[in-house]
Symmetry: D2
């Protein structure tokens, strides 16, 4: 993960864990998604997914996700999710999210989302102010 990744700290609670006494697998994608939502909020001065959808009429649905689970996530210590844009396309964005606890990598994930007009399924170009904000923060952003 790059040095300029956004880092989202998350408490792992009792309710996040299953009878095997580790965070439940079905919760882990949601940890990563929360981190991406927080990434946007941080990058765009408060414009999280809710505001994108409801205020700006822009949707950002996912078309692909993949995750490698490297180590169990425990509620004994916080989880740090490192989020960075891996690739910015014409209408899509790929995120890399890495989950870390006490220097140990718990998961490495990749998420691909596309931009759409809210309520429609038709893709739109990445909005200019979003592209600009990404370029401003990530000097080595890969665009294709």
């Amino acid at each position: 993960m790059g040095e300029d990744a956004f880092i989202w700290r998350r408490r792992v609670g009792f309710g996040d864990c299953d009878p095997a006494r580790i965070a439940y697998t079905g919760k882990i994608p949601d940890f990563a998604l929360e981190a991406i939502d927080a990434f946007w909020e941080d990058l765009l001065d408060g414009t999280n997914w809710f505001r994108m959808n409801v205020d700006l009429g822009i949707g950002c649905p996912f078309v692909h996700m993949e995750m490698d689970f490297k180590a169990p996530i425990t509620p004994r210590t916080p989880l740090f999710c490192h989020v960075e844009p891996a690739r910015l396309g014409t209408t899509s964005i790929t995120f890399r999210v890495t989950g870390v606890q006490e220097e140990r990598t718990c998961f490495v994930a990749s998420f691909v989302a596309v931009f759409v007009r809210e309520g429609e399924l038709k893709k739109i170009p990445v909005p200019e102010h979003i592209r600009a904000a990404l370029r401003g923060r990530f000097a080595h952003l890969r665009e294709t």
Copy 2:
């Protein structure tokens, strides 16, 4: 809510909200429970519900909850949950949890939990080190 309440700040995300565009009712009890789990962690130097259960063999199941919903919870601003012990019994504890967003009270809740030997259903007295920690923090703790 009292001045010595523990305050738990929580980001409200897109995934916490429903099609009515407010936090889903079914999530709100869990916000309050997360806050109680964080309350113990703070009070007991890291001993959250997970450590109580797994390391100390103490369970703390709930026997009653009630909530008044006063105002919708929005993902536009963080939620602050104020947690304080309202009453400490021989084997039980009652919490008052108040959810606040930008000075507006969103919910007021009451939760009653009992202490048990982990894996059993038989109540045990509130462990002494827990009672002592509560007394130490909350000068006006009501014991019955």
Copy 3:
């Protein structure tokens, strides 16, 4: 619970359970809410909360909930939630929801919701077609 209660059967999964190896307290209100959503869908020929909100512009937010937890919920056997309207007011409805596993009562809950115009906070009278459907199904419905 009455003989004419609507019964919602729900599988309890591994992911619903916590490290104490029973269903997590924070999930249980949501089990009851799912059952109420399914109750409407059954009573109103498919009009669940989603359709009420999105198609009919009617919201049904909760103002109060309370639950007594009587016995742990286990993933070894399904949970049956019995839902019945306990009282129908001018603008509100009170539900009683009882959760049962193998003849054992796990929880008894009460939920109060009000009807609103979707997106607004102002209460409206219980819509006539909903009142009629409730009267049609529940001969002894208590109206106040």
Copy 4:
């Protein structure tokens, strides 16, 4: 998806949906996992993940997941998850899970899990009774 896939029917509720008025992305992996848990329960005469862990001391953690999201999931109609073992290795199993609503494929997913002694991280061979049950049901099971 093959003809002998196990099919898990799931109601999609109001609480599963987000402000974009479709099922929240973070819930979808969990739908697929629920279906896999139900698959085992069906195949092994009631032995779901909970019983595997708690009664048999066998864990089945995931090491990889990937999902393609093809169409939004709506609460207007049930979701059918088709589960089939795509490959059985020495210590691992790969599942293919396909989510369908009214003939429309909503997602196609692949999950890889390994068998472990519960509470340990060391892989063990697929237990013989599980291998036998899989062979018995899936004539064309690919073993490697």
